[in-house]
Amino acid sequence: MVKEEQETANRPDNTAFTQQRLPAWQPMLSAGIVIPGFVLIGLAFIGIGVALFVTTRSIQVLELDYSGVEQSSPCFKCSDTSTKNCVCNMNFNLDKLFEGPVFFYYGLSNYFQNFRRYGVSKDLDQLSGNLDNFENPTDDCVPFQYDANKKPIVPCGAVANSIFNDTFKLYQIIGGTKKPVPLDGKGIAWWTDYNIKNRNPSVTPLKNAFNGTVQPSNWPKPAYELDPTDPANNGFINQDFLVWMRRAALPNFRKLYRRIAEEDYAQGLPAGNYSLEIAYNYPVLSFDGRKKVVLSNVSWMGGKNEFLGIAYLVIGSLCVVMSVVMLIVYAKFKFPDEE
């Protein structure tokens, strides 16, 4: 009664915040929320799981290992690193239409693109067209920074140096004749990689920018001559180079090589016999690696992926089971005054 009059300066503010009385939502894991929630989540997961599973079943995948480990393999002869410019042919047969668009991948196993030192061994400034870094590549590129003559290597670093250099040609065998399947190499790299991240120096012709530099030791051609057919596909924005430079997260990976979506093959690869001509250049057997070619088509959710569908189904059904268990437990031990 008297207190109001004695309101004083030291009195703390009477606000909901200072008095810790902010209005608040106080959720509680009550049965009414948790059990139906589990049922709903479970059902949703089962639904998604079924959809994913069905979708993924319709995707066709063809894998061809061409490392040439086994003697029976047509590429066995090429696996000897001393043979240069070795070409081998792998034949395969499709017994039904391989629906298009078909994507042509190469895959490497036991290849550690994700190794830390490997990953950092590149010069991003150089790749974005900075001419200063042409002369002085970053130290990260060691030991692919300068060649023996102290000339800067462009593009420098282990990643660029180790670019995958096998090339493939695909033929459909129709009545004994090889009909080349057109492979489309445009737009296989990320849009941002091609348009933003990597840029050629604005020097024309491109060749001049590379004066005073050397190509990486593993490269047969300098960067500005990677694709003689298309001048726009050279230098650092060469599609194959970009694909390679986007390093893989895991030691077994595949990278997009070409798309098959043109001419007669727009609907996919018809059933029949095919021959794959491989220019075998890239040694992997020394570190027990494997090389393969993968043909695959995709759905709305990408390539074949059985794990996801199954995982969804499992988790969904576990949720439903849990909800039943919880219902039983709840019925037995519910809060005493639950109405």
Binding site: L29, F112, R116, A249, W300, F307, L308, Y312
Partner: protein, 1284 residues
């Protein structure tokens, strides 16, 4: 004479007025320094201190590692930025703290005092005062150093001091100078005496030295000393010789050393950090071994694509480097932001304490203050409270409350629930009345007015039989100066009822009786002492009749009555019992008419006894005994040692929360015990054991006996109680399996009833025991092997009272419990004598009361009322603890989930210390993406509202048992974190390794993988915090959603084209987020990972809630159900304890009680001798006025307070600063009972909601029925009336 002084001082030689001589000894000056740094030393010393923190050194070490290019797996800014931030924040905080210490030091050091230098009085700062200086002190000044009193303006070299700052006693003490020096008066400039005395020590009550002057020796004792911290009272001026200065003074010697306080969570956290560091090393080793194997098996062959760098040419060295690299990337299991966040959370909690209106006292205009911001969560774990008495539990103000006059009791307030009775208005009747005196029973005034003979005699006695001095500044304006506040209260009462004590001379007492001036001849004062427990005066009234008036402890006085008083004695005895049961201090009053002959003969024997040199004391008391016989009983008085508001209720609530309360007081045993009763620590069912032995053996024996008795008693009570208890508890246990804790307790009690075997028996003793131990016994009890004995006994008691303890002993007791019990201790006090205790306890609480601010300055928390302690502990402490634990659990979980992904990735990247995430993500994850939601939870979370935690003190228990965050919880958290990391790595791994975008581009590139994992991580930890947050305020919403948004927006910004153009080498993730997050499969992956992480947690929590709910869950659940059921009722402002006090009082009264006499409470002999000798009659008006005004002003305060908030009757609860634990209804059961109601059945309240027994269970049952609750919550008054 010139002995070389050894480093440890053996004796002290001080020569007055001779600085040169004294300087040889290099005694400490009077400069006091409590601060730690100065401007130059601040940076190095502070940094040195900071790097003593394990964590900081660890981060520094990491930083150094990151600077080595071969090792650096992360750029160093990920460590530099947070480390610099932490160091500077801490440094600023330390600097602020030290600044305030400097300020307070300066304030003290710069106080002025008058020093006699070369014959002239000069003003000097305190810090410039040297040993050997002569200081002039004036009235009401603080004593600057330990002084030898040389002379005083008062006769006989007397001076009065108040030692409240030192030992907490507020009564005045007399000091007297050696007669040779007192004769000098103020001509001390030529005084050149030399003092040889003991070296500095901390014994407040002892001083031993010799004064050599003019070839003569004079012994010096404590009676000659004025100690630093005392205040000169009632003395115009005095001169003193500085003996000890600054740090050597007894005050400073007693203040103990300052220790940096850490909370147990802090210590646990440091241990855990060490463990985690060990864990880190293990992980690093595993991965390094993996790296060695990989490099040998794969890496060496892979060299065509990735050659080993020139300096690193073998796999072992590679592995060694990899170890350190992993240490760097895995270090985020203990991010530095942990420490910053903990500090921020604590700071937030401290502000909430500062802001709490319910801990604001409007009378003193003081809000609670968290002075240390690092101890908050410890407040939720307190098990022992050590409390000072005077000024903490009590207001140290006495008020005349009730009296019994010839069989008629007055002052009873008949209807405690009725309207507040009006205080009597004395002014029309008595112009001399003290306006601040409150009395509510007008029957007594009527009785005075009609001229009842007994009533008149009663008050006449009160106006004559005392040793109070009075001062009349102007006509009718009287101020009394009493040696003990009890006496002052009695004399004031007499004054208001028309028997005004006006003045005294050595031989007369002048009073105004009913408006008529009367002068009595004072023939003798038979003074008080501890053994006599009574005092008498013999006066001759103007008519010439001689009468002896006696007041004293009933126990001694009732024995000395004339047999004809039998009947009256019985009635009065009953009244005394009632008063005592109410916790009042009682005195019995009696008189005896003496004939002239009797007087003459007695006077003769008195004179001879007085003159005796040997055994004077004994002879005198024998003589006194002769005359104090055959007295006629007049009645009895009851004085209330006014407790602070809400003390019994607070103590009751705290003990329901399983907190043990020890009272450590410098006061006498009787006072302490009496307060124990009045604040309900002790009840009449309590078995009180008193330890007062003077030797080790006797103390040991007493302790053992007490223990045996306890075991014996608890066996008998257990035998009787247990079956009933079990039978009562069982249905609920089997009915719903709600509470395991209770079962546990049951078992414990059963164990207790098994044959006693060892000390564990003592732990489990359940009984109402209390231990009272005296200071001198305590000294023995604290010696070596007695410690355990004492702890064993004391901890089996519900209440422990230590009386006559020195400040240092207080600290020792606290240390003892800290050492033996490993429990969290809290010390609360208000005076300088409590400082050491406050400093040594885990938490020190200062009551900012009347006794200066030393205690507050030394404390960690301060507020102005003892009762705020319950809110501090049960609400703020509990919340802090809860929040801190939840925060830590989540934090460790989060960081393990975050970091361990790298570990799993290590197996797939050649153990190369490749991080899974982008570097920017790693830098920002703890600082930006996940810091705010967990901070918001750590600051704002509430499981149950504050009202409920006061209603259910049992909710406090998890903190004491350390249940919410301990090693087990930690392991659960990190297991959950590791589980999450497994899910977060392997789900994307399994999904993405073969997945492609819908345009055929593979998704298994490093950057997509990084973004997917990071996004999944952020979402999973956000969902987890959403689950952990129990109290979603707007701020929580903003933080959680804001963090998620910030993650996405920062990511998109960092990966935008514009920024990339500026920093191409830093932001190589350009465009990755867009490309990744547009893929449905990425979202399916994230959803899957989230579900796998969260679903088990959700199921586990739900089942735990159903099968093993904690009390807080139950309370919370009930609360929510209730909120749904009815519209939210208005906040309950009125306190639940309305009327609780009075009800329990009457209950106690009915039980009858042991009598506790008030007159045992004076601390020492009275001023009787001084009065009769006339020594102190020349009191200067100045001295008296200032003294009296001070004291009476505090009386005024109290009485005013009393007027408004009379005792624990309803008004006390209407105050806004009442803690309002808000359980409703006036007819709350007595608190001691509610212990069983609350404690026994944690699940009870829910079931009692039917409203069958409203009166009994309103305390515990939240919602009887709609109407009753809402009505009673909104209108406590009507509810009270209703239920009555």
């Amino acid at each position: 004479m010139f002995r070389k002084r050894l480093p440890p001082e053996e004796e002290r030689r001080v020569k007055a007025n001779d600085r040169e001589y004294n300087e040889k000894f290099e005694y400490a000056s009077n400069y006091i320094m409590t601060s730690k740094y100065n401007i130059i030393t601040f940076l190095p010393v502070n940094l040195f201190e900071q790097f003593q923190e394990v964590a900081n050194t660890y981060f520094l070490f990491l930083l150094i590692l990151q600077l080595i290019p071969q090792i650096s797996s992360l750029s160093c800014y990920t460590t530099i930025v947070p480390l610099a931030l932490v160091l500077s924040i801490t440094a600023v905080k330390d600097a602020m703290d030290d600044y305030f210490r400097h300020k307070s030091d300066n304030h003290v050091n710069n106080r002025q005092s008058q020093v006699l230098i070369r014959g002239l009085l000069q003003s000097e700062k305190w810090m410039n005062v040297r040993v050997g200086d002569i200081i002039k002190l004036e009235n009401n000044q603080f004593v600057a150093a330990d002084l030898l009193l040389l002379s005083s303006s008062e006769p006989h070299g007397l001076c009065y001091i108040e030692t409240a700052e030192l030992d907490g006693e507020t009564n005045m003490k007399v000091r007297q100078s050696v007669s040779v020096t007192s004769e000098l008066g103020d001509n001390l400039s030529s005084f050149d005496g030399e003092v040889v005395c003991e070296p500095p020590n901390n014994k407040l009550d002892r001083f031993c030295g010799t004064l050599y002057w003019r070839e003569k020796k004079y012994p010096l004792t404590n009676q000659n000393m004025l100690l630093r911290g005392c205040v000169l009272r009632n003395t115009e001026a005095c001169y003193g010789l500085v003996i000890f200065a600054g740090p050597d003074t007894k005050l400073m010697q007693n203040s103990g050393c300052t220790k940096f306080k850490r909370t147990s969570i802090d210590r646990l956290m440091n241990t855990l950090v060490l463990w985690i560091f060990g864990f880190l090393v293990c992980m690093g080793t595993i991965l390094a071994v993996g790296n060695a194997v990989w490099e040998r098996e794969v890496g060496s062959l892979f060299q065509s694509y990735l050659p080993w760098e020139p300096p690193v040419n073998n796999f072992l060295f590679n592995a060694f480097l990899s170890f350190w690299s992993y240490i760097i990337i895995l270090n985020t299991v203990v991010p530095i932001s942990l420490y910053v966040s903990v500090e921020v959370i604590r700071l937030g909690h401290s502000y909430f304490i500062n802001w709490d209106q319910q801990m604001f006292c409007s009378q003193c205009n003081t809000a609670a203050e968290a002075r240390t911001t690092t101890l908050n969560e410890e407040l939720g774990q307190v098990e022992y409270i050590f409390s000072d008495k005077t000024g903490t539990l009590t207001q140290n103000i006495m008020s005349f409350n009730k009296c019994s006059i010839s069989g008629q009791t007055y002052g009873e307030i008949t209807d405690p629930l009725g309207p507040q009775p009006k205080s009597l208005d004395f002014t029309p009747f008595n112009p001399l009345a003290d306006l601040d005196f409150c009395f509510y029973d007008d029957a007594l005034l009527e009785s005075v007015k009609v001229g009842d003979k007994h009533t008149h005699e009663f008050f006449r006695l009160l106006s004559l039989c005392h040793t109070v001095m009075s001062e009349e500044k102007s006509e009718g304006e009287l101020v009394y100066k009493a040696q003990s506040p009890d006496e002052g209260a009695l004399v004031t009462a007499a004054r208001n009822f028309g028997f005004v004590f006006r003045s005294r001379t050595p031989g007369t007492i002048s009073t105004t009786e009913m408006g008529r001036p009367v002068t009595y001849t004072l023939l003798a004062i038979l003074d008080f002492n501890n053994i006599r427990k009574r005092m008498s005066v013999i006066v001759r009234n103007p008519e010439g009749r001689i009468r002896l008036y006696c007041k004293g402890a009933d126990t001694v006085l009732l024995e000395r009555l004339h047999p004809c008083n039998q009947e009256l004695m019985n009635i009065t005895s009953d009244h005394l019992n009632e008063y005592a049961a109410d916790g009042l201090r009682t005195l019995a009053l009696a008189y005896r008419d003496l004939s002239e002959d009797q007087w003459e003969s007695w006077s003769e024997s008195h004179r001879s006894a007085d003159k005796a040199t040997d055994f004077r004391e004994d002879l005198l008391s024998a003589v006194y005994e002769q005359i104090e016989q055959d007295m006629m009983l007049l009645g009895a008085t009851a004085i209330e040692d006014k407790l602070q508001e809400g003390v019994p209720e607070t103590i009751a609530v705290l003990s329901l929360a399983n907190i043990k309360i020890w009272v450590l007081t410098g006061d006498k045993q009787e006072t302490a015990v009496n307060i124990g009763y009045s604040c309900k620590m002790l009840t009449d069912t309590t078995e009180v054991f008193i330890i007062s032995g003077h030797t080790v053996q006797s103390v040991r024996q007493e302790l053992r006996t007490a223990r045996e008795k306890m075991i014996q008693l608890s066996q008998t009570t257990d035998g009787g109680k247990e079956p009933g208890m079990e039978g009562w508890g069982e249905p609920y246990l089997s009915g719903n399996g709600l509470n395991e804790g209770q079962e546990g307790r049951g078992e414990k009690q059963m164990e207790g009833s098994l044959p006693p075997s060892s000390s564990c028996v003592m732990d489990n003793i359940s009984g109402e025991f209390a231990l009272v131990i005296n200071g001198h016994s305590l000294a023995h009890a604290l010696e070596g092997d007695m410690e355990t004995e004492f702890v064993l006994t004391a901890c089996a008691c519900k209440a422990v009272i230590c009386c006559r303890v020195t400040p240092l002993q207080k600290a020792q007791v606290v240390e003892l419990i800290k050492k033996h019990k490993k429990a969290v201790t809290l010390a609360v006090g208000d005076g300088a004598n409590d400082v050491s205790m406050i400093k040594s306890a885990h938490i020190g609480v200062g009551i900012s009361g009347q006794e200066g601010i030393q205690a507050v300055l030394a404390s960690d928390f301060s507020f102005s009322q003892f009762r705020f302690l319950q809110r501090l502990l049960l609400v703020h402490g509990r919340w802090s603890y809860l929040r801190m634990c939840r925060f830590l659990c989540y934090f460790f979980y989060k960081n393990f989930a975050f970091t361990m992904v790298h570990f799993w990735f290590g197996f797939f990247c050649g153990f190369s210390a490749q991080t899974v995430y982008d570097q920017h993500f790693i830098t920002l994850f703890n600082i930006v993406y996940t810091s705010l939601p967990v901070l918001a939870m750590g600051i704002f979370d509430q499981d149950v509202p504050d009202r409920r935690s006061l209603e259910y003190p049992k909710l406090y228990e998890p903190g004491q048992l350390n249940l919410l965050f301990n090693k087990k919880e930690f392991f659960i958290c990190i297991t959950q974190g590791i589980y999450t990391s497994v899910v977060l790595f392997f789900v994307p791994y399994a999904v993405l390794s073969d997945a492609t975008q819908s345009n055929g581009v593979p998704l298994a590139d490093y950057q997509t993988f990084a973004i997917t994992t990071a996004t999944a991580l952020v979402i999973v930890v956000s969902v987890q915090i959403a689950l952990d947050t129990g109290f979603w305020t707007v701020i929580n919403h903003v933080c959680v959603w804001g963090s998620l948004c910030s993650y996405f927006s920062i990511m998109f910004v960092l990966q935008s084209q514009g920024l990339f153009r500026s920093f191409p080498s830093q932001l190589n993730f350009v465009g990755c987020a867009r490309s990744t997050l547009l893929q449905p499969i990425v979202w399916f992956t994230i959803a899957l990972a989230t579900a796998i992480c969260v679903v088990p947690v959700l199921a586990f929590r739900f089942l735990k809630l159903d099968l093993k709910p904690q009390l807080s869950d139950t309370v919370r659940y009930t609360q929510l159900v209730r909120q749904k059921k009815r519209k939210p009722a208005g906040r309950n402002v009125g306190g639940p304890w309305r009327g609780a006090g009075s009800v329990s009082e009457s209950r106690l009264g009915a039980r009858g009680g042991s009598r506790r006499s008030g007159y045992a409470f004076a601390h020492q002999e009275g001023f009787g001798e001084l009065i009769t000798s006339g020594k102190n009659m020349r009191l200067s008006s100045l001295a008296l006025t200032s003294f009296a005004s001070r004291h009476s002003s505090s009386w005024i305060d109290t009485l005013r307070r009393k007027k408004h908030t009379h005792g624990h009757t309803p008004a006390s609860a209407s105050g806004e600063c009442s803690p309002a634990p808000s359980c409703v209804s006036g007819s709350v059961p007595p608190l001691s009972n509610s212990c069983s109601v609350l404690g026994g059945s944690q699940d009870m309240p829910l079931e009692e909601e039917a409203g069958t027994a409203p009166a009994q269970n309103t305390l515990s049952a939240p919602a009887p029925s709609k109407e009753t609750t809402s009505a009673s919550e909104q209108e406590p008054d009507s509810a009270e009336a209703h239920t009555e």
